[in-house]
Subunit: 272 residues, 2 copies
Amino acid sequence: MSAGRIVINHATVRETADMVAFARLCAERGLDTVSIWGSEIDKVGEKAARAALEETGLKVSGYNRVGPFEPQFLDRARFELERAARFGADHVLVFTGGLASGDRDLAACRRRHEDVIGSLLDLARDVGITLALEPLHPMLVGDRTTLASLSHANALCDALGEGVGIVIDVHHVWWDERLGAEIARAGQARRIVGYHVNDWLVPTRHLLRDRGMMGDGVIDLAGVTRMVRDAGFAGPIEVEIFSDDWARRSAAEVIDLSIARCAAIFGGALAA
Amino acid sequence: MSAGRIVINHATVRETADMVAFARLCAERGLDTVSIWGSEIDKVGEKAARAALEETGLKVSGYNRVGPFEPQFLDRARFELERAARFGADHVLVFTGGLASGDRDLAACRRRHEDVIGSLLDLARDVGITLALEPLHPMLVGDRTTLASLSHANALCDALGEGVGIVIDVHHVWWDERLGAEIARAGQARRIVGYHVNDWLVPTRHLLRDRGMMGDGVIDLAGVTRMVRDAGFAGPIEVEIFSDDWARRSAAEVIDLSIARCAAIFGGALAA
């Protein structure tokens, strides 16, 4: 197994490992790439965070994130995009946020957010970094996103042109009857820039913090991965688990189990 | 305000009022129609349940439900459909259920469920009652449904022909960027047979039992109702709230508040 094709997203273990510890744990296990968070860089300082990556030779896949889209958001966004570029990130995740307090006009909010993404793309092109649209689960519409389907993300990318791509997270899109068609469509346009795995637990006890470890839930992970590979995405498989349960375990244990589960479930697809 | 255009779904108050008490509470408030549950009929017995409706003159809109689709399900389904007909129900809600334990092939499960709905429709035509497909929220795919969008419900109705309609519940579909288009499509085909209201709370703390009272959440209820009316649906507005919080209050209080909120939010749309 080429562990190098697995990326751990720092959010998976951030409760028990700061960014420096996280980088060392990944490097010790032969991983060559990580996905990182601006909020975690803030905690250790940019100097220490960059030193940790240089010392370990780790590359950066996803940088989280720009958003939510609040007033004066674009000033902060430029800072995040430039910092992502300093870390050599492959792409920056866009997080729209949801409806403002008291607002119930979702369609209008969605249109405003689409306009903001357009402005953000201008900034990202300036900085020379790819924007990544990640449709979130429909249960997160309201407070966390207005972008809740691959169809919407694909349509938005069609409209926006170069410099924007899509991150597919199984947790958010696995339920969709259009899944195969929309993954194929994204692949056709060569716009898949990331692929996140975890699992959907039955029952799921919390809308945000009850994702499962790969294999513990009901998602056909091998099947979805086949769709993503068949669509031409050759990048790494990224583990992103937001979970109160897994957050309590040691980072080393969670990373080791993630790698073992990926090897068992994805096998050859890891080395695509 | 014509309270007669409001229907309370018994599930909203079933923790504190059995079917007999529920019927009396609704009739006392001038409502002329209710939506009922086979499981609640079982608790008081069919004789008492029918007597309560006859005594109050209440009609039945929705009968819940046929499903989940388990082995030998069709035998039970015939019983439910015949009982719904005895209660003079306008339509019977279809509840597919989710993946069987250990099954991860959602696409195949969906196809099987579509076939079962086809068989169910044959039964329903025999009995002379309308089947109602109600797409549930995508967060309920896995354990409770494989039908999670209005688009899918519309496509299925297109394929099935006469005798099947759609129930639109705001909680399940409000997030969808295709909402307006799919409501219009359902209206065009004259297949909307029910319209359920409640609200989406921010935060929502439980996937099943944390729906809000109309006005307490972020759904543009007046706006969605306009879409439904513009699509030609002239039936009643049905209150269906699954909520641990509201289940603790007295049935009378919940029904009174539901009627007051409907009057305030829907106004003229109640009498469409």
